[in-house]
């Protein structure tokens, strides 16, 4: 039982990072209908920027907002400079661009910082508390930062005119233009926000998984699974989906271990966590393509 609680707790912590990435994916999807395959590598690149700042002696909590801002600008620049000319291009061309971006940021990080593993120390203070046997301070920190980020984003979209304009532009670009909204800039802003959210996700997960150019590859898959479970068109759903996937992968592996111990049959365990994520993706896409909280999009023909 104790172990199960522990697994759920650490699942929630991983889920926090998946939730961030899922949110970043949804951010771009709702406004452009594209899945940004380079989202993970962008987040990894941002994590390296944080590492660089730390190695120059800056404080983590100073470095993170600055890096988030730089990532924001990188995101905006990618949209304005690389994707803008492709506005009317077929989906496949855009996908190729995303894969190109993935390769570029991957190699760039390797070229600048090398392929050896680096460590980012946890920015959260070490302390013990009731239940610290179940969950570590870094894990709690990850969950708290994610929730704060979500609340801030929610407030931005719900209560500010700019957030409203972004929602309007995502939902009905033609009508938004007729309201005077500069839709093109709203897309770029969406890209910037996604990159900034990814930066937070990357820097939070780096202390847990070690920093190296491949670190986000599997995490992006989990994020993708989270976005699909919650509904790729629903930001709130994506976050819930991220947490669900985080907990599910741990609980399923735990149950697999339990089964092995009691009956000696090995079906699933810690080694198959990624498989679990992929199974979730396939299950959701076959049974409920719009996700748990997503809207079914209906097209009149």
């Amino acid at each position: 039982m104790e172990q199960l609680i522990q697994q759920i707790a650490s699942g929630l912590a991983n889920g926090a990072v998946y939730a961030c990435l899922a949110l970043a994916l949804v951010m771009i999807f709702v406004s452009t209908d594209h899945i940004n395959f380079a989202q993970g590598e962008l987040a990894m690149f941002s994590a390296y920027l944080v590492w660089q700042a730390l190695s120059w002696g800056f404080n983590f909590w100073l470095a993170l907002p600055v890096v988030a801002l730089i990532s924001f600008m990188i995101g905006v620049a990618i949209e304005r400079l690389i994707l803008r000319p492709l506005h009317d291009a077929p989906v496949l061309s855009v996908v190729v661009v995303f894969i190109g971006l993935l390769a570029i940021f991957h190699s760039l990080a390797g070229a600048i910082w090398g392929h050896t593993i680096k460590a980012i120390p946890s920015p959260f203070p070490q302390f013990s508390f009731v239940g610290s046997g179940y969950i570590g301070p870094h894990q709690i920190g990850m969950i708290v930062v994610t929730l704060v980020l979500l609340l801030a984003l929610f407030a931005f979209f719900r209560f500010t005119p700019l957030g409203l304009a972004m929602r309007a532009a995502a939902q009905n670009p033609a009508s938004a233009r007729l309201a005077g909204v500069r839709v093109d800039w709203m897309l770029a802003l969406g890209w910037g926000l996604a990159a900034a959210i990814g930066a937070v996700a990357g820097s939070l997960v780096a202390p847990a998984v070690y920093l190296e150019p491949n670190m986000m590859a599997s995490i992006l898959l989990y994020g993708f699974a989270g976005a699909l479970v919650g509904g790729i068109s629903s930001p709130g759903g994506a976050v819930a989906g991220g947490f669900i996937v985080g907990v599910l992968e741990n609980v399923i592996a735990y149950l697999g271990n339990l089964l092995e111990k009691s009956s000696g049959v090995y079906i699933i365990g810690n080694g198959e966590k990624l498989t679990v994520a992929l199974i979730i993706v396939i299950t959701v896409l076959t049974l409920k393509p719009s996700g748990l909280f997503g809207k079914v999009s209906v097209k009149r023909v």
Binding site: P161, L164, A165, R167, A168, Q171, N172, A174, S175, A176, R177, L178, A179, G180, V181, R182, V183, K295
Partner: protein, 237 residues
């Protein structure tokens, strides 16, 4: 007679297909002008050309300044409210948010509040539906919302694309009555596109008749109304 909007030799294209061949018209400041014609005559395309939503050639001037080739957002910001075909509702946003998006470009909060009050006076039903999701409104209510969104831009010129489309006659009458009030009280000039020619000629003071992307006749509404040949061949009543 000052011309608010002037088009000369306007041509418009959807890809390779030419939709307008040679359209010229002038809109009087403060007046209501209507564009009439059969399906496919180019009425909607003319409105879209004004707002830079299609590729155009020829000249379009607002207040004497050329606006051809400008981005839609920039033309809107010059004081052109466009009530589009199909109403353009933000279906997932609330009625309140629909109205606030339209006022997004305006800085003067007090003026926005005044315009909101004006909108509620014209369309009290929208005030009652304020927090409802706009997609759940009836067709008539969504048309009212579309006109209100255009009003929230504080426009000098309003382009209306078939505001009567798909609505019950009583609702249409109501909407046209309020359009007349908006024209006289809020001093908004209007360019109205309508299938329902009888209704449009009732409201408008000038009319242009389009056929396959060309202006074939123009004049005061009364002249057009009384020209039996035009009425029979183009307006169908």
């Amino acid at each position: 007679m000052a011309a608010l909007l002037e088009a000369e030799g306007l041509k418009a294209y959807y890809g390779q297909t030419q939709a307008l061949h040679d359209v010229s018209f002038a809109l009087e400041l403060g007046g209501i002008t209507t564009l009439l014609g059969a399906n496919g005559a180019g009425k909607t395309t003319t409105l879209r050309s004004i707002c830079g939503m299609v590729r155009t050639e020829g000249s379009i001037r607002l207040d004497g300044r050329p606006i051809g080739g400008k981005a839609t957002e920039d033309i809107i910001r010059l004081g052109v409210g466009h009530v589009p075909e199909g109403r353009g509702t933000f279906t997932n946003l609330s009625v309140d948010e629909n109205l606030r998006v339209a006022a997004y470009t305006r800085k003067d909060k007090a003026a926005v509040a005044r315009d909101l009050a004006m909108v509620f006076e014209y369309f009290p039903i929208l005030k009652a539906r304020l927090n409802q999701q706009a997609g759940t409104l009836s067709g008539g209510e969504q048309q009212m919302l579309a006109i209100s969104r255009a009003l929230m831009l504080s426009p000098r010129l309003m382009l209306l694309d078939e505001p009567s489309f798909g609505l019950a006659p009583l609702i249409v009458q109501e909407i046209f009555r309020i359009m007349r009030r908006i024209n006289s009280e809020a001093k908004v000039s209007m360019l109205l596109v309508e299938q329902n020619a009888a209704l449009a000629l009732e409201l408008a003071d000038h009319a242009y008749v389009l056929e396959t992307g060309r202006v074939v006749m123009s004049g005061k509404s009364s002249q057009v109304k009384n020209n039996e040949a035009i009425r029979k061949s183009y307006l169908g009543y």
